[in-house]
């Protein structure tokens, strides 16, 4: 078992390593312009400089941990993460009750669904001009855009989740003496969680896409801002270093969410992981 996972990891590393080798060879041989495509080594060096603290350690400026995390990359990643979390929370906290209401009540669905159907296909990116008009620059328009990106996936999945609750559970709960409130809280809500959580996962993924875009227009830190800034200086090595960081952060967020989901859904039959 253990041996197999090692073997699988080794196998998975083969293709990226070969590509890196080809990339490095192309750069060192001068086949491609280093301004257009810097070598992997140059990217790694730049990535390290981006990650490492800018100033040497000085106890007068605060603790060691604070110094360790004072690098530009860490600050950017924290900034992006903060926006994702805030934007996602705003979007999900609005979407969840609305989705529960629309799923549970036909009247609520009839009132609200036409509006949802019209607004849902508008990509959050299309709200950029309006968000700047409304919120100016800085975090508020970014969080607004991210919350839009998170809102619809959570909403749509919550509605579907409540609607697909098997009638047999409701019958059993009524038979056991449960009233409407208890049924909603203890039967419909948990029965809908697999759907809701997959909406959460999609919503966080969308939030992460939107954060990068919104940082390119509205704020002056964050990973999205940094790679656009690097382009202005022709720092292609920093662009790629920033992109890799975005990828790693996205992977970390997604695997964190998956772990939480798996814990919450440990009762569920069809688990993927």
């Amino acid at each position: 078992m253990r041996r197999n996972t090692w073997l699988a990891a080794l196998q998975g590393a083969v293709v990226p390593l070969v590509l890196l080798a080809i990339w490095q060879a192309a750069s060192s041989s001068g086949l491609v312009n280093a301004k257009i495509l810097p070598s992997p080594v140059a990217v790694a060096v730049r990535w390290w400089a981006y990650l490492a603290p800018a100033e040497p350690y000085d106890p007068a400026n605060g603790g060691y941990i604070a110094w360790l995390f004072s690098g530009e990359l860490i600050m950017d990643a924290m900034g992006s993460l903060y926006r994702v979390v805030m934007g996602f929370l705003v979007g999900a906290i609005l979407a969840l009750p609305m989705g529960l209401a629309m799923g549970a009540s036909r009247a609520a669905f009839r009132w609200l669904n036409p509006l949802v159907e019209v607004l849902r296909p508008i990509p959050p990116i299309a709200y950029i001009p309006l968000s700047i008009l409304w919120f100016g620059l800085g975090n508020p328009p970014a969080i607004f855009l991210i919350s839009l990106g998170a809102f619809f996936p959570v909403l749509v999945n919550t509605i579907a989740g409540v609607r697909q609750v098997d009638g047999i559970y409701l019958r059993a709960a009524r038979n056991l003496g449960a009233g409407p409130l208890t049924i909603f809280r203890r039967v419909m809500l948990p029965a809908a969680t697999p759907y809701i959580l997959s909406g959460v996962r999609i919503g966080i993924g969308t939030a992460f896409i939107v954060v990068i875009v919104s940082e390119m227009i509205a704020v002056n830190n964050g990973l999205g801002f940094r790679i656009l800034e690097a382009r202005e200086y022709f720092w292609s090595d920093k662009i790629i270093a920033g992109m890799l960081t975005i990828g790693l952060l996205g992977l970390a967020i997604d695997s964190g969410v998956t772990r939480i989901n798996n814990h919450l859904l440990r009762w569920h039959r069809g688990l993927e992981h």
């Binding site: 059993a172 038979n175 449960a178």
Partner: protein
């Protein structure tokens, strides 16, 4: 003393371009502590009648009283066991059994003690912290039985509870149910389409006709328990019931061929 009174019950369903009479003038008087099986082919209205007793659907005409009170809605005085178990998959076995007690507002320690007692009674003590997905069909149905027993209702309604189980598991649950029934003195209304199951379990077998559902025959089973499926009396009764049920099954199939129904 009668526990369940079914008085001139009719149930009609509107279907496109037609009306189905599922139940027609059903009159039954079920005594307290009696074990009654409702037997018939699919479409005879046996589940419809059980759902009406449970309060999930209302008769078009007529009335049902349980323990002297008219049935208007589902309630914990009539615990129901479903063929599909209907356990809450997000709750552990322990929490499933505890659910009805929590709804009732029973104090925590009393509820916990009661749940432990029931799990013990049904041989589930080891499984309290498992989720339903990790249990076999037979175990799940034991949990479902424990869950309704927790309600301490005088009446148990069972809708083909063992229909999805293999023959051996089925027999062991039937024996277990009989033991519980003898010990707890519940009134049981048990829907089945298995003739053998009805004879093995019931004090009284009510055979229903295919649409409209009426009482075709109401038979007392006097054989002492445990009943031997190989005994001559068992087989005489089985032959008699087979004839009655297959007449109705033929009417069902004739209706199907005439395109009157698809179920």
């Amino acid at each position: 003393m009668s526990d369940i009174l079914i008085n001139h019950v009719y149930k009609r369903f509107a279907v496109p371009g037609n009306e189905v009479v599922a139940l027609k003038d059903i009159n039954l008087d079920i005594a307290s502590g009696e074990f009654v099986c409702l037997l018939g082919p699919s479409g005879c209205g046996k589940s419809t009648l059980l759902n009406a007793i449970a309060g999930f659907s209302h008769p078009t005409e007529g009335g049902i009283t349980v323990g002297g009170r008219p049935v208007v809605a589902p309630g914990p005085d009539r615990g129901m066991v479903f063929q599909e178990y209907a356990l809450f998959p997000w709750m552990t076995v322990f929490k499933n059994v505890r659910f009805g007690l929590e709804v009732k507002g029973v104090a925590n320690d009393v509820a916990d003690a009661r749940v432990r007692e029931l799990l013990d009674m049904l041989g589930l003590s080891e499984f309290g912290e498992r989720f339903p997905k990790d249990l076999s069909g037979g175990m799940r149905q034991r949990v479902a039985i424990a869950r309704v027993l927790a309600l301490d209702s005088p009446v148990l309604l069972m809708d083909e509870p063992f229909g999805a189980l293999d023959a051996l598991t089925r027999r062991s649950l039937q024996d277990e149910l009989l033991k519980l029934w003898a010990r707890l003195g519940k009134t049981i209304v048990f829907v089945t389409h298995s003739i053998e199951e009805a004879i093995y379990l019931a004090d009284r077998i009510v055979v229903l006709t295919y649409r409209p559902g009426t009482v075709k025959r109401d038979i007392r089973v006097e054989m002492p328990r445990p009943r031997d499926a190989a005994s001559p009396e068992f087989n005489t009764l089985k032959r008699e019931l087979s004839r009655l049920v297959s007449e109705e099954q033929q009417r069902h199939e004739a209706a199907e061929r005439a395109g009157l129904t698809t179920d």
